[in-house]
Subunit: 199 residues, 2 copies
Amino acid sequence: MLKLPPSLSRLINELSKLPGIGPKSAQRLAFYLLKKDNVEIMTLSESVKDIRKDINFCDECHNMAEQNPCSVCADSSRNHQLICVVEEPLDALALDRTGSFKGVFHVLGGVLSPIDGVGAEQLQIASLIDRVAKLNVQEIIVATNPTLEGETTAMHIAKLLKDSPVKITRIARGLPMGGDLEYADEVTLSRALEGRREF
Amino acid sequence: MLKLPPSLSRLINELSKLPGIGPKSAQRLAFYLLKKDNVEIMTLSESVKDIRKDINFCDECHNMAEQNPCSVCADSSRNHQLICVVEEPLDALALDRTGSFKGVFHVLGGVLSPIDGVGAEQLQIASLIDRVAKLNVQEIIVATNPTLEGETTAMHIAKLLKDSPVKITRIARGLPMGGDLEYADEVTLSRALEGRREF
């Protein structure tokens, strides 16, 4: 019976634990790496090892950053009265890349998900309420994902802040650019109709 | 402008060099790893680093193996007069897993591909001819992939061995199990017709 060398089996096993990588893709990746020279292999190995090396978290917005406070919170040209609440650092990054948001962020670090044991105390929700109370925040844009958990989290935040004078908005749900009405699901279409705007 | 910490950007950059992993998947993988504990991260890093640690090549069949000669070539219960020629170690592994092949393998290490600068001298073709001449080989099953390069390589090998008494066969091309006639391409269908067999 033919068997792969243990070092290779081990790498295939480790790679197949990653999300979206099944045993076949893991095999393919391992054999791809095997053909690379040692420098490239070491660079990948080192960069996995050093993943946390220079990662800090901003005490203000809880985003992942090089410094504390982060470049956005430290930037006085941004509107600190406008806070965009997101689930994860990548969401903040995606919104920031659009160039159309000039406020600051607040990273929750996840969403309410009782099934995974994630309650409000595991998220940066209390610090958001503090931030709103302490600073003169005008508007909070809740930009959690349009999923069941994202919507629940958005509603929870809205409920907690309903007695404060801050304006709470939710990012628009509707058809994505390039999308197709014919293939859109009912909820998306209902939201697109609800959210319609005059030309 | 929001920026990812350099260690994270570097990992994303390294991961996105892997085949089938684009910048978005690389981001997702990096953030997934970031949430894992240090032990898991170190295990992955080490297994990438050690990929070549215990890999040898069998001098007989040129397959990747733990020992030299490999477990298949060292197994006297296998038919050493029947050689199955494959492109890569994974192909040999896949064929061996079927349990229906009791001969030995010969791993070419690739296919003829002039566009990538791969000629016959970069492959284990000369050693195959030697092996056939030296040992009393009865049959060679050419099991290169049914791609343009695989077919060319198969034909090249058949041509080199046409004056030797060895029987040269090619694995069957046809419809895969679970396949659908309606969606099969013309070449596959033609091959399936050509290769028809009596019940």
